[in-house]
Point group: C2
Amino acid sequence: MTIKIILADDHQIVRQGLRTLLTAEPDMKIVGEADNGRTALRLVQEHTPEVVIMDVSMPDLNGIEATRQILADYPGVKVIALSMHSDSLFVLNMLKSGASGYLLKDCALEELVKAIRTVVCKKTYLSPGVSDILIKDFASTWSDNNSSAFSILTTREREVLQLMAEGKSTNVIADQLCVSVKTVEAHRKQVMNKLGIHSVAELTKYAIRQGLTSLEN
Amino acid sequence: MTIKIILADDHQIVRQGLRTLLTAEPDMKIVGEADNGRTALRLVQEHTPEVVIMDVSMPDLNGIEATRQILADYPGVKVIALSMHSDSLFVLNMLKSGASGYLLKDCALEELVKAIRTVVCKKTYLSPGVSDILIKDFASTWSDNNSSAFSILTTREREVLQLMAEGKSTNVIADQLCVSVKTVEAHRKQVMNKLGIHSVAELTKYAIRQGLTSLEN
DNA sequence: GCGAAAATCAGGAAAATCCCTAATGCCTAA
DNA sequence: TTAGGCATTAGGGATTTTCCTGATTTTCGC
């Protein structure tokens, strides 16, 4: 049986590399490619793949949020996170969102094949080094700190927050989400109230700390 | 001869610890304490100390900027940077600003005494580990990348940018700098033009990358 | 000193934000 | 099954901020 795979990464070169590698495997087939989370979401609905290779930080809709939404609708899909940073916040948020694996981008390409085979067998796969991060972090701050963005904010609110933190104006956000400016304003207001933060600058910092957006881009 | 010292750190506990340690040295005297860069600046004018112990990230006016301004007026003053993070951006910007030493906060307190004695003898002192960072970084990205905030923006513009990135409104910034709102607006506009960035969110990210503000606070 | 750059400020138009209100749909507990 | 809570959507009008243009004073290097 063929394993259907979707690639989601905003760097074309990365996608090319992965595609080349994976097409060499006779029992794997890439059925779709996305350069942002929103497209990935749509492709999953279209193709119901077994596995999604998901970059953590992507513009528009990030990998963490995309993973949450995919798994809410398709709990059987296996998501493997792929990231440059071994930043613990990203790793933890990604795994909290339900990812089955976490790979660092500097790992050997062959590792990805191994990871895919592992997760389709209902197991999980972590890059060497990632598990260390987990242990260190669980031991310290994160054990019961459950006030992350993912428990206080609604899905829509997180979306709006991310877009704000990416520097988009209310107008642009409204367009992108296909709702009125007023709605976006309402969400932003709600986010600010919930977090007790009333400036875009501090909202941006919060979003970065929570892994909703990154310092780059 | 007594070495006059000024402490600038926004954490009271840190200042207390340092004070306790340094008062044990018969030839050293703390002549002033500040919890932000602006106060530090004023204290230097008042006391013309030999040494300033300067935290890198402080609210209102950060340690990097404060160091620049102090050394512009008092080139003989020795500034020793003190920081939690061994983040290379902070280290490099601090040293570019003219600091004579860089200590990590997790070093032994006795190291500070050693550092002070070293810098007053016209030499420099780096925490073990900091020099590694320098070498690694100079080798890679930083060799000629001179488009940092410190070469494009004026002093005033950096001040305004930092305050913006701390979430302060134009109004508050104007108050704090004792100028009119219109002036702050003009500076912000200028900053945005120079950087080609036109949203507070992205300005904030830029400021973080440049070490003008930190993710906390 | 002199010129360029920096820092300061004003007025009015345009845009974004804030505050209040409210309809709709969905889920849950009584 | 119905009432209530929450998420999402949205409008109107007041308020605030931003944007654009232009101008004066201050500073600083040569």
